[in-house]
Amino acid sequence: MPTTANITINSVEGNNAIKVIHVAGELDESNLPQFESAITPIMEDKSVKVLIFNFMELKFMNSKVIGFFAYLYTTLSKDKRRIIFASYNQTIHDILALVGLDKLVDSAPTLDVAIQDAYKLINPE
């Protein structure tokens, strides 16, 4: 049975430096190429400073997807750009915590908190 995920990308109102990527469904190696091709243009756009991944409707992701996020984190960190994981459920939290990615990537309990954190990152006092 093929794995499906729905990905939508928005800018935060009035601020192109913050992108919100809503991911719904499940992510694994079968749909990872499509996911990558959706994210890569944003990754390459240096004007985007913070990527917020809204995982509220994400049910599962496997280690290959984790590998892509680790790569994304490493690549963006070189330009002092950041990732925030928002609204993940217990399953996603367990997957991220198991591998240790939660120690690298910022997280927020809700999308609104993630957006506020993103503003603080791009406009530090």
């Binding site: 599962f60 280690s63 984790i66 892509f68 680790a70 984190y73 591998v99």
Partner: protein, 395 residues
């Protein structure tokens, strides 16, 4: 005259029309001159001239191009060198010539692809054998422990590994299970790099599982992309003091069956996967797993918990825990292993294995027991029939 060039039939009709016209013209001229008889020789000569004309046209326009193509087709069918034929007409013969050229072009490409595939398969077979040789066939004696370990790669080369080693002072046994992201050649290469690094460190006198994990990460990280990380959990068995310790690097939970309570504890292995960050020294920690006689430990890779049955349902950690809890009381590691495997088989059935699967069961039998270890890596023949029958370590 294009309408003639694209068809033999049109050419034949045209030729017939020309000859018929010539005959009518000659007959009319002779009739007007009052010639009502011609000599036999004149008639035969004229007929021969006409037939010769037809033959020349047939040879030049039909037989010559056809025989050129036929010669190359014979060479191709006979396995000899052949050449492509430049088409000189656009009629049916020209079409067959063009078809021959296209077919030979495709055959050459297919032949090249087949040769390349054979070469790569042969190299993969060699690489798979090297990897199998790297995985342990036997294990050092470890007083008090009864161990069964099996792995089954999803492809010719797997990313899962385990190993059992003695420290240089012979007082500790190091066991680990590791899982590189994905499977296949890139994962296999990293698995072997880690295997070599761990063995080297032990031979140089390192004892602490935490130090081994930290140094392995330090040496590995600069060499690999962050996409390709390796999760690992390393156990250190102090056979003198009969104590078990562990250091995690982002691996699956360590399941511990407690004989006294008949319950399973799922311990987070902790840490961060190897290769994710250059320095994990602040995160890696060695902790003790207190064990009593009869307790068991189960280590596994995510190929097991993420395995799906035909309805797309995942096996999950919960099922793994339930199975271990149900079967942890068995007296030997082998019987626990077999029963946990049976539960897994009953769920996945004819499972299309998409990730490497590995499992280790360790039974603490007490200091007076002799050490037993049973290790198994699925064989090459078994890998060819992954989807046709009920999943098993050996098939």
């Amino acid at each position: 005259m294009k309408f003639l060039r694209d068809s033999l039939t049109k050419k034949a009709i045209f030729l017939f029309s020309v000859l018929l016209t010539a005959l009518v013209v000659v007959a009319t001229v002779l009739f007007r001159k009052g010639v009502v008889q011609v000599s036999l020789w004149t008639f035969v000569g004229s007929l021969l001239a006409v037939l010769l004309f037809i033959l020349i046209v047939f040879l030049l326009d039909v037989m010559s191009p056809l025989s050129r193509v036929a010669k190359e087709v014979r060479a191709l069918l006979g396995g000899k060198n052949y050449q492509r034929v430049p088409p000189t007409t656009i009629d049916e013969i020209g079409m067959f010539t063009h078809f021959f050229n296209e077919i030979t072009r495709d055959l050459e490409k297919i032949s090249y692809d087949v040769r390349e595939r054979r070469r790569m398969t042969s190299e993969l077979d060699i690489a798979a054998q090297i990897q199998r040789d790297v995985l342990p066939k036997s294990a050092p004696e470890s007083k008090g422990l009864d161990i069964v370990a099996k792995t089954r790669p999803a492809a010719e080369i797997g990313g899962d590994s385990f190993d059992f080693l003695k420290t240089a002072d012979d007082k500790q046994t190091i066991l680990y299970i590791g899982d590189v992201t994905g499977h296949g050649v890139p994962s296999g290469i990293i698995m072997m790099m880690v295997n070599t690094l761990v063995r080297s460190m032990l031979s140089m006198g390192m004892v602490s599982s935490r130090d081994i994990v930290v140094l392995t990460n330090t040496l590995l990280s600069p060499k690999i992309s962050s996409r390709l990380f390796m999760t690992l959990v390393m156990l250190r068995w102090d056979s003198e003091n009969q104590k078990m310790y562990y250091t995690g690097a982002g691996h699956e939970h360590i399941l511990v069956y407690r004989q006294k309570t008949e319950k399973v504890e799922a311990i987070r292995s902790g840490g961060i996967a190897l290769g994710m960050i250059p320095d994990n020294s602040l995160i890696a920690q060695e902790k003790e797993i207190p064990l009593e006689i009869g307790d068991s430990i189960l280590l596994y890779s995510d190929g097991m918990t993420e395995a799906k049955n035909k309805t797309g349902e995942m096996y999950t950690l919960e099922r793994m825990v339930q199975s271990f809890q149900k079967n942890g009381y068995f007296p030997s590691a082998e019987s626990i292993f077999d029963h946990v495997t049976k539960d897994f088989q009953a769920f996945v059935q004819e499972y299309v294995q998409i990730d490497d699967c590995s499992m280790i069961v360790i039974k603490y039998a007490g200091p007076e027991s002799g050490a037993k270890m049973k290790l198994s890596i699925s064989n090459e023949e078994a890998r060819t029939a992954k989807t046709s029958k009920i999943w098993d370590w050996e098939s």
